[in-house]
């Protein structure tokens, strides 16, 4: 059982479509991060959210941290083939140092 549940597990869309992926937990997180991983490489940080209700934008990507700090979402506008990859959320419970990851959402954007 994963502390962080991500949905959907797989998503295949056409270029130009919008999408949202979710990261949910029953635990409260002191902070939550989103990473993207490409095949054969380690994950790379996209964003960190700390405050409940926080919204951060990174070009076409919008990240939101739930008010209760138990969930987060990633919205991509007008997806491009370059957005293809594995999207991972990661968080720490109660400001501890055990940084755990969700199971990931594998996104494929077709031209």
């Amino acid at each position: 059982t994963q502390l962080l549940e991500q949905s959907p597990q797989f998503l295949s869309i056409q270029e130009g479509e919008n999408l949202t992926v979710y990261c949910n937990s029953s635990s409260v997180f002191s902070s939550l991060q989103w990473y993207r991983q490409e095949p054969g490489e380690g994950p790379v940080l996209l964003v960190t959210v700390v405050t409940g209700g926080e919204v951060k934008k990174l070009k076409r990507l919008t990240f939101q941290f739930g008010d209760a700090r138990k969930d987060s979402s990633l919205h991509i506008t007008a997806a491009q083939p370059g957005d293809t990859g594995l999207y991972l959320c990661a968080g720490e419970v109660n400001a501890g140092n055990m940084l755990t990851f969700g199971g990931g959402t594998r996104l494929m954007v077709k031209p």
Binding site: S30, Q33, L45, A90, L99
Partner: protein
Amino acid sequence: NAGVTQTPKFRILKIGQSMTLQCAQDMNHNYMYWYRQDPGMGLKLIYYSVGAGITDKGEVPNGYNVSRSTTEDFPLRLELAAPSQTSVYFCASRALPWTGELFFGEGSRLTVL
């Protein structure tokens, strides 16, 4: 800039053999982590360390051991390898807890036959 360096990149082990995956970082980070990633899945935390001489178990520590004698090095030991340990192993480090960015190595692909 080397960052996080893992060796070896690939290894095939026979059941029951033991080996050590090496991890070194040159960023003077106190926080270091070992994760495993099975095909198509997320990362599961094996062990982590908040500084030299301090290690803690993560989500899936059974079958593994770690040590942290220096800030730079955080080796992962596999004892009595089993097919269930076939995976890609990632070492990562960060400067700050809570919000610090994790920097990952390139991974070590281990197959146990």
